[in-house]
């Protein structure tokens, strides 16, 4: 009967495989109009006029501007700084200014050509450097949305007395989530309730935003998720914006309106991964033991605060890597620029800082003349290690196990020698390299985040004998529906197919917090398990035992529910007593537990074209317990390929504050031919607080590829290139610079 740990079929699989699954644009909404968005074409400017072509049949259309907003013109998230529709001032390209709807999709788009916005252009700040130099004030006096400082020991003194001090600077670019289903939301009013349906990760975020925008009670807003074609963080916060737009159009048009972005609009206007510059100054003993890490992080947040503070927090907390060091200082800032706001993307700040922390070991290895793998082994987290925030790692530390598996399965030592020989032969057409990385990733919200969220989830028993999991966590491909049913059925000790999983609909499910931060399985799955335990206890005390047949279940349900149509067993998050965190000093248990991953990549670079082919990936990831091993492997392979894309191919090109390659034609993501074979090992070091021992898996796979790729490129070419993506152009330029330097 047990299903946890088994590869049961995806719940919604048959619908998805037959074209029956209903994504937003597939919904048949009678009388639905199509909404489109008028966007800014300057990075910074004063709106002088919005002109509607007088010859155009505007009476066939509905037009909305900021003046139509009944509540406050703000997209509520962390800070109230981002307007739903720009008023007076635009602060980035592609900023929404007005909305248009028409019954016909093509006619709605046609109207965009008949609106002109006149601006008084203002000076713009488009780079991190210009933002820090305060060339123009965007946010407060210093353009810094948020800064953090972590301090452990005495870094200055330790650096002064270290045998060696090694510095490095590392840069990572934006990254586009590139879910294959673009953003899409529909809204309409039904009996005084505003109904929103959409492709989204966090239905309760949308409720909170609409409440403020529309000035209505939460009970008058109902948000439910449609089948969602990928999110990766990209549908965490931006859907609140689109839902606001669709709601205003629907209320004014008095009919349903849907907004479905096309690929260009989705890429150019919506959030991306934060670009970052990370500097390391590291003190070590001559034999390679860490004595001090001084890390400086700067990220580009874009024009509004959105989630930048939280992204920076996670980046900061991972900036020292998975290594123990007695003296650590991490200073971090996220700055404002006149570019579209950056936001959530799988990994949420950690891939940026972990890239630097891991790749820096290659530099250290060169200086000390010790192999980077040996250096990593010497300093790696183990049980009892104390992190930069003073957290003692008490349990479930699989870093070394993962690294051992990867080194063994990839035949690291043998390959290194083999490739050294290959590279030494000038007649070979290519260079080959192998690189290894090892990273940690905190599961769940940072520090006290889970306490503030106070998430709830439950299991309901209906009078008719249905068992229903109630959670707001969204299925975005990762297998939430299946996994919750597994956890609940095993906890109850009933067959898997007795369990249903409710659609995340804010009028039906409790607020389980957002579907982000690798928290769905560990945190919300843990709540589902607790709720199921409560139901189990109720069965036992009120019916004598947990029912064994459907017929018995019906009988028990009638007894437990009495006259009520259903009984809900809901629980709220409770902080494990051993977890303590101080938000003011950034000291304590930053996360309840960490997941760990090691990753080896082998690649081949054409000597003539500098084109890179990834030959093979070997990875081992400690996720506590795989509730569904095949889905966990799917998360790992999928996340790792996104990481390989970021490392080698993907680069949003910005010009005048906007992404100019906002198409899949020239923003290249990996295809089936770019993807290497993956050798995946799931390592299970159970976490005592996770359901069945589970930790997080969603983001971890994104952390490891980029530093391993850069290390492998160094092995292949002899050149440490500290900026990704490692495109043929970048590799060629780096090698040409070396050749030039050798001549001088």
């Amino acid at each position: 009967m047990r299903s946890v740990g088994k590869n049961v079929s995806r719940r919604e699989g048959p619908e998805k495989l037959t074209g029956r699954a209903v994504y937003l644009d597939d919904l048949d909404i009678p009388g639905c109009w199509h909404g489109v968005t008028v966007r800014s074409s300057v990075p910074h400017g004063r709106i002088k006029a919005v002109k509607f072509d007088p010859a155009f049949p505007w009476s066939d259309y509905v037009v909305v501007t900021a003046a139509d907003i009944p509540g406050r013109n703000v997209v509520t998230l962390i800070e109230p700084d981002q307007p739903l529709l720009a008023e007076g001032l635009v602060r980035h390209r592609e900023e929404p200014i007005a909305l248009i709807a028409h019954a016909d999709r093509a006619k709605a788009y046609e109207a965009l050509k008949h609106v002109t916005v006149e601006y008084e252009k203002l000076p713009s700040v488009l780079t991190i450097a210009d933002a820090l130099a305060v060339k123009e004030k965007i946010y407060k006096d210093d353009n810094v949305f948020k800064s953090f400082l972590i301090r452990k020991g005495d870094v200055d003194q330790a650096l002064a007395s270290a045998d060696v001090v090694i510095e490095g600077e590392y840069r990572v670019p934006h990254q586009e989530q590139a879910y294959i289903e673009n953003n899409a939301v529909a809204a309409w009013e039904e009996d005084g309730v505003l109904v929103v349906r959409g492709s989204l990760q966090c239905p309760f975020y949308v409720v909170k935003a609409l409440k403020v925008l529309l000035g209505r009670d939460e009970s008058k807003v109902r948000v439910s998720q449609t089948v969602t074609g990928g999110g990766f963080g990209g549908k965490e916060e931006y859907p609140s914006m689109i839902a606001g737009h669709a709601a205003l159009l629907a209320l004014k048009a008095r009919r349903p309106v849907k907004i479905v972005y096309d690929r260009h609009e989705d890429m150019a206007a919506t959030t991306k991964r934060h670009p970052a510059v990370v500097r390391h100054r590291t003190g070590l003993t001559r034999d390679g033991r860490l004595v001090a890490q001084d890390v400086d992080v700067v990220m580009d947040g874009g024009a509004y605060a959105t989630l930048s503070a939280v992204v920076l927090s996670r980046g900061t907390l991972h900036a020292a890597g998975a290594y123990e060091c007695p003296n650590v200082r991490v200073r971090s800032r996220v700055v404002a620029t006149h570019t579209p706001p950056n936001g959530a993307f799988r990994g949420f700040g950690a891939p940026q800082t972990l890239f630097a922390a891991e790749l820096h070991w290659e530099k250290i290895a060169d200086v000390l003349g010790i192999d980077s793998l040996a250096l990593k082994r010497k300093n790696l987290f183990k049980i009892g290690s104390i992190t930069a925030t003073g957290q003692v790692l008490r349990e479930s530390v699989g870093a070394k196990s993962c690294l051992d598996v990867v080194v063994r399965r990839s035949k690291y030592a043998q390959r290194r020698k083999e490739y050294d020989r290959w590279n030494a032969d000038p007649k070979k057409p290519s260079w080959k390299g192998i690189g290894v990385s090892v990273c940690h990733h905190g599961a769940g919200f940072t520090g006290s985040g889970e306490v503030y969220l106070a998430s709830r989830a439950g299991v309901a028993l209906t009078r008719a004998g249905a068992l229903v999991v109630l959670a707001a966590s969204t299925e975005i491909g990762q297998g939430t529906n299946t996994m919750f049913a597994q956890v609940a059925s095993d906890t109850l000790g009933v067959p898997l197919d007795w369990l249903e999983v409710e659609t995340p609909d804010t009028h039906k499910v409790p607020d389980s917090g957002p579907t982000v931060a690798s928290r769905t399985c560990m945190v919300v799955g843990g709540l589902v398990r607790r709720a199921a335990l409560d139901l189990k206890a109720a069965f036992e005390s009120e019916h004598g035992r947990v029912p064994r047949t459907r017929a018995e279940l019906k009988k028990a349900a009638a007894a437990l529910c009495g006259a009520k149509p259903a009984r809900r067993f809901e629980v709220q998050y409770e902080k494990p007593s051993e977890v303590t965190w101080n938000d003011a000093t950034y000291q304590g248990d930053a996360y309840g537990v960490y997941s760990y991953a090691a990753f080896a990549v082998e690649l081949e670079i054409d000597r003539a074209t500098a084109e890179t082919k990834v030959l093979r990936v070997t990875t081992a990831q400690d996720i506590g317990k795989a509730i569904h091993p095949l889905f966990a492997e799917g998360q790992i392979i999928g996340g790792c390929l996104q990481g390989l894309g970021w490392a080698l191919l993907e680069e949003p090109v910005y010009n005048d504050g906007v992404m100019v390659n906002s198409q899949l034609t020239n923003y290249v993501i990996p295809t089936s031919l770019d993807a290497p074979p993956f050798d995946v090992t799931v390592v299970e070091k159970p976490y005592s607080r996770g359901p069945f021992g589970a930790k997080g898996v969603g983001e971890l796979p994104m952390d490891v590829p980029a530093p391993a790729v850069a290390a492998a490129v160094k092995h292949a070419t002899g050149r440490l290139i500290a900026t990704i993506p490692l495109t043929p152009e970048r590799i060629t330029a780096a090698l040409a610079a070396d050749a030039e330097a050798a001549r001088v």
Partner: protein, 160 residues
């Protein structure tokens, strides 16, 4: 605006409207066959893949006029949730679909590959699917799904 006929999933259908309307719009909006998905509208992602006289095409690039008098097959022509085709079963067993948005296109490309006698090995399947982007799976489970379906077929054939 004229009328044109095409055979969709074995049924003769008439479309009244402009011949340059994209095939994907006719399928999704006029015929309500929403299994075919749009991911980019410019021939890059393959989510809109359907078969035209048995060969995979991007329906976002094809004007419906070009399909007049021809055979169109969409994902709806494969199996039903109650009775999945072998290929669909392979995807269910090997976790070939995560978010599922690329899946209809993947299935149609894979179906065309296997039906036309394409080889059931890793490299051939990857080549056949190289016009279909998937951002979730990293492709490995999709390739496994197709290979499992192909092997299943062979097994059955040899048992006969």
């Amino acid at each position: 605006m004229g009328a044109l006929t095409l055979t969709v999933n074995g049924r003769r259908r008439t479309y009244r409207g402009a011949a340059f309307t994209r095939l994907i719009d006719v399928l999704r909006e006029d015929f309500r066959l929403t299994g075919t998905k749009e991911g980019c509208g410019e021939g890059e992602c393959g989510a809109c893949t359907v078969l035209l006289d048995g060969a995979p095409v991007n329906s976002c690039l094809i004007p419906v006029g070009q399909a007049a008098g021809r055979r169109v097959e969409t994902v709806e022509s494969l199996g039903s949730p109650e009775k999945l085709s072998k290929l669909q079963q392979g995807f269910l067993d090997c976790a070939g679909a995560q978010c599922g948005i690329c899946t209809p296109g993947m299935l149609m490309s894979a179906h065309a590959h296997l039906k036309s006698g394409g080889k059931a090995d890793d490299a051939s399947v990857r080549t056949a699917l190289s016009g279909n982007l998937c951002r979730c799976t990293g492709y490995q489970h999709i390739v496994d799904s197709v290979l499992a379906a192909a092997r299943g077929k062979k097994k059955k054939a040899s048992r006969k």
